[in-house]
Amino acid sequence: MMIDQLETIAAIATPLGEGGISIIRLSGKTALEIADRIFFPADMKLRPSQAESHKVVLGRIMDETHLTIDQCLYLPMKAPRSYTGEDVVEFHLHGGIFLTRKVLELVLSKGARLAQPGEYTKRAFLNGKLDLTQAESVLDVIRSTNDHSLKLSQRLLEGQLSKRIEDSLELFTRMLAYLEAHIDFPEEDIGEENLSFLTQHYQLVREKLLNLIHTENSGRWLREGIRVAIVGQPNVGKSTLLNLLLEQDRAIVSAVPGTTRDTIEETYNFDGVSFRLIDTAGWRNTLDPVEQIGMDRSRQSIQKADIVILLCDASQPWSAWEEEIYQSAEGKIRIILLNKIDLGLRCQATQSAHQLLKVSLLHQTSPIAIKQILLELALKQGLNVQADAVAINARHAFLIQECLISLEKFHVELLKNTPYEFLSLELRDAKARLSEIIGGGDNEEILDCLFKNFCIGK
């Protein structure tokens, strides 16, 4: 079957922010070509586009400067033997929101565009990968997928977000109306071209968008929970703390440690916010050696965490190991918990932690005090649990970032005195990205704004 391949689309195919692996999937006519440009198989003779279909290849993803972004698995599924019927390639990465997004950005910079919700499925239908008798139900799926995601995003957009996006869009519209007025009506009495109008609006909209980006954490925290890593040397009481937080008093069954992907997570809710205790598999093993493995494992946990609890034995001195772990958690919310305070205090911990607690976990019967502290720290760090909370998801964040990139281009050109029609092009690009979040937007509203604000007419 000959498939008429469309423009290449890309998306993160696994839930963002989850541990384990994440998959980036591309589909379309340049999927293989893009793979050739970013993926470098361990077998250096192999070109990704020439690799056998449906066979996994190990290699590295590198950016333009040949910097390795991640070691990963590459899985090509060539047309028509793929889900969409087009050339599809997948990159299986080592998880992590930052890394995943970086690879996605790389792929997009090579000419793919971000997939719309349900677009892979749509292509699958269009390419006859699904039985024709399913057509009706397929329509329902498309319809409901869209409606559902629409409802979801509407819910997400309730309160302040949609208003804040609209405010920013309105600023774009005003800037565009300004540009277009000066382009289309050079004979009119609408004032000289004025750099400060555009710079002021640029700064205003930039600030608004940056503020929005910063709410991403809050949104993710609310949706996915706040990730807490508990680290510490053997026998400092990690299991006790776990049991206390989870309010389980049954005996702990040690999970069998496997690779780093064998993550076990336990979740507890407090005041409507969920906290995810990550990588509990690792530190449930009381035989955890102090040596390198323990250090690596702790570091990996820290990397995934929003809050790091460093558990120490109060009766032992602050060690180099603890100092190093503590430093590696820079940028996270850091809590130092000095356990076994009943055995005396010999530990001189670093004082720069967000919170220093002295406890005796064995004698602690209620976890509420600790949970309260974790929640308060999260609130302090920007978690917003109000009803009108502005919280954006990863897709929104991505679009806002794209919008900001175009906005920056606009600003660079503005300072170079580039003619208005080119500035307009950059601004329209920026606005289009932002419009994708709430939909709509066309030229008419720019004209409306123009005629409202400028006295035009002969």
Binding site: L6, E7, Q116, G118, K122, F125, L126, G128, L132, A135, V138, L139, D140, I142, R143, N146, E180, I183, D184, F185, P186, E187, E188, D189, P419, Y420, E421, F422, S424, L425, G439, D442, N443, I446, L447, F451, C455, I456, G457, K458
Partner: protein
């Protein structure tokens, strides 16, 4: 009823800017054509300002010229002041504008129409259409003459049930001094076309001897003259006449505010919707009350008349208020109004009732162009006239329509906007409406369109060979650009600098035997393409994506009523507009990307369905049922 013995291929009703281009195009394509007008003395009349061109409009005129239309040549031949606007901006948004000698323009157009082979020009007022089983076959005049034609193009301007307002008084008229067409609208409605009302207006005209120019700024024309037509040589000589710039005063605003109740618009007498970009002076004063003065241009109406057009002062206030108002303007303290300003209401048909080739959906072989489609402006009218004329000629030969899309021409943007979105106010072209404006420039209209027009038989051989020559020279210059500039980089790299000009290398690039005008234009193309390469490439990429959607044809069998998954609003819109392509469907207001996905699936499924049914039918036959 007398039936005129000659049967026409194409009949054009109305000889304004749209009608002229429609009739000329049809006749030039070899069709027997009739052009009918209420008044032969007002062929090509500029009812409002004596100017052609400006932003986006100038682009349209250049395209009309590249496609073999007449407006560009007429403007060059009768222009009295020429300017290129936006010279400080990039090439895509520069546009020529000219003041014309109104009478000379009319005489030129009348003369061209009269001497064009296969074109008959006649005076007559049309009273109704003759329609037989959904197809137009001719028209009847008010003096009981029947003209038979295979295709009819309607370009009625403001004449359909025109109603002229000065103050709270009004009376029927197609234009001040001309009679309206009072019965034709009914004929359209009888055939299922919905008619609505629009409004426009024009300022007073003043006599020169009463104007004090010493208090005004002078605005001379540009040299060298930026002509509109590719066929006008730069050596063509024009004595240019200046325009004058002045402004209203605080007193003007006060007069308006005091008399607002006498304006038919504010008194609620006018029901038609006026253009936002062409507001009356009373509108400007009311809506922008913090603006103390408004600028006013005085434009000469010709060489052998002393009439001046008061640009910026369109009004429908009563005559005594107009006098007072004019006297409050700097330099017009003693000015004498020789024609009053007025507003006019007229019938139009929302253009979503048209196919993309400007034929009405309700009546076969009936085409609409110009203000009847809700547009405003001579240039917008002429462009549609040309388009309708070409398609009327094609239809009379039973040939496929000639279509231009949004990436090819402003004309494509104009027609697509009209038939896809419709309009509720007079539609004017702006460059911002053209999403690919960086490539739809006034400087490359010939490179974009002349070849197409040549295939249609619309342009003369000399225009086509000029184009071939120009393309050859562009290639010749490009092939030399890789050579060193003497500045350490190639000439190509050198001219990419914003401040550099290709003219610096004229000696190295231009050969002596080249025709100077063509060489200059070719050098300009090379310069623009080098300087804006990155931006142009971006547009070209976008155009490729656009073309993908545009090439997905919506099949005739698709019945929106069956597609329950579409939202009701989208289903109604799609049914009404009947887009021809997925691209067009996606531009309809209120049709979402989810709706488009559903359409794509249905189209795909429909194909399978029909072949499946066919297969099962065959199977049934084979079983001997």
């Amino acid at each position: 009823m007398y039936t005129f013995p000659k049967e026409y291929d194409v009949i054009v009703v109305g000889a304004g800017h749209a009608g002229i281009e429609a009739a000329l195009a049809a006749a030039r394509m070899g069709r027997e054509t009739l052009l009918l007008t209420i008044n032969l003395d007002t062929i090509g009349q500029m009812s409002c300002n004596p100017a052609i061109g400006g932003l986006a409009k100038g682009h349209l005129v250049r395209e009309i010229d590249a496609l073999g239309g007449e407006m560009g040549r007429a403007t060059d031949q009768t222009g009295i002041q020429f300017r290129m606007l936006n010279m400080r901006k990039g090439p895509a948004v520069r546009a020529p504008r000219a003041q014309c000698d109104k009478k000379a323009y009319q005489f030129y157009m009348k003369w061209v129409c009269e001497r064009t082979p296969k074109l008959d020009v006649k005076q007559g007022l049309i009273s109704r259409l003759i329609v037989q089983s959904g197809k137009v076959t001719g028209i009847e005049t008010d003096f009981d003459v029947k003209f038979q034609g295979r295709v009819v193009v309607i370009t009625t301007g403001t004449f359909l049930r025109g109603l002229i307002h000065v103050g709270t008084k009004n009376r029927p008229g197609g234009r001040m001094g001309d009679i309206p067409a009072t019965t034709l609208s009914q004929s359209f409605m009888d055939n299922g076309i919905v008619m609505s009302r629009l409004k426009t207006g024009t300022p007073p005209r003043l006599v020169k001897k009463s104007i004090d120019f010493s208090k005004m700024g002078i605005q001379p024309g540009d040299t060298p003259i930026p002509f509109f037509s590719y066929s006008t040589p730069s050596t063509f000589h024009v004595e240019q006449v200046p325009c004058w710039l002045t402004h209203t005063t605080e007193r003007t605003a006060q007069i308006i505010r005091e008399n607002l109740h006498l304006s038919p618009l504010y008194a609620g007498i006018i029901e038609g919707i006026g253009p936002r970009y062409c507001p009356s002076i009373e509108d400007k004063v009311v809506r922008f009350c913090d603006k103390e003065t408004h600028q006013i241009y005085l434009e000469p109406e010709g060489r052998v008349t002393d009439e001046f057009y008061v640009n910026g002062c369109s009004t429908s206030l009563p005559f005594p208020v107009q006098v007072e108002l004019i006297h409050s303007i700097v330099g017009l303290e003693n000015a004498d109004i020789i024609r009053p300003a007025y507003a006019i209401e007229y019938d139009y048909a929302d253009p979503i009732q048209l196919h993309p080739w400007l034929e009405t959906k309700a009546v076969q072989n009936l085409f609409f162009a110009g203000q009847i489609n809700g547009t405003s402006g001579y240039e917008e009218a002429a462009a549609q006239g040309l388009y309708a004329g070409i398609n009327a000629a094609s239809r009379s030969r039973d040939e496929a329509p000639f279509l231009l899309d949004r990436s090819q021409a402003y004309l494509g943007v104009l027609v697509d906007d009209l038939v896809t979105k419709g309009t509720k106010e007079p539609y004017r072209m702006f460059t911002s409406r053209a999403e690919y404006r960086l490539v739809l420039r006034q400087d490359n209209a010939d490179l974009r369109l002349t070849d197409l027009a040549h295939k249609l038989g619309l342009v003369k051989e000399e225009a086509f060979s000029r184009l071939m020559k120009k393309m050859e020279i562009i290639q010749a210059i490009k092939s030399k650009l890789g050579l060193p500039s003497g500045e350490g980089v190639s000439m190509h790299q050198f001219i990419r600098r914003p401040e550099a000009s290709v003219e610096r290398f004229r000696d190295k690039l231009v050969e002596a035997e080249w025709e100077p005008d063509i060489a200059r234009e070719a050098m300009e193309q090379v310069d623009i393409n080098a300087k804006y390469e990155g931006y142009i490439q971006r547009e070209v990429d976008n155009i490729r994506k656009f073309k993908e959607l545009e090439s997905k044809i919506i099949p005739e069998w698709l019945n929106y009523q069956d597609i329950k998954a579409l939202r009701t609003e989208s289903r109604l819109k799609l049914k009404e507009i009947q887009p021809k392509t997925i691209g067009q469907a996606s531009r309809i207001m209120g049709v979402s990307s989810a709706d488009i996905s559903i359409l794509l699936v249905w189209i795909k499924r429909g194909k399978g369905h029909s072949s499946q049914q066919q297969a099962s039918g065959e199977a049934a036959n084979a079983l001997g049922s």
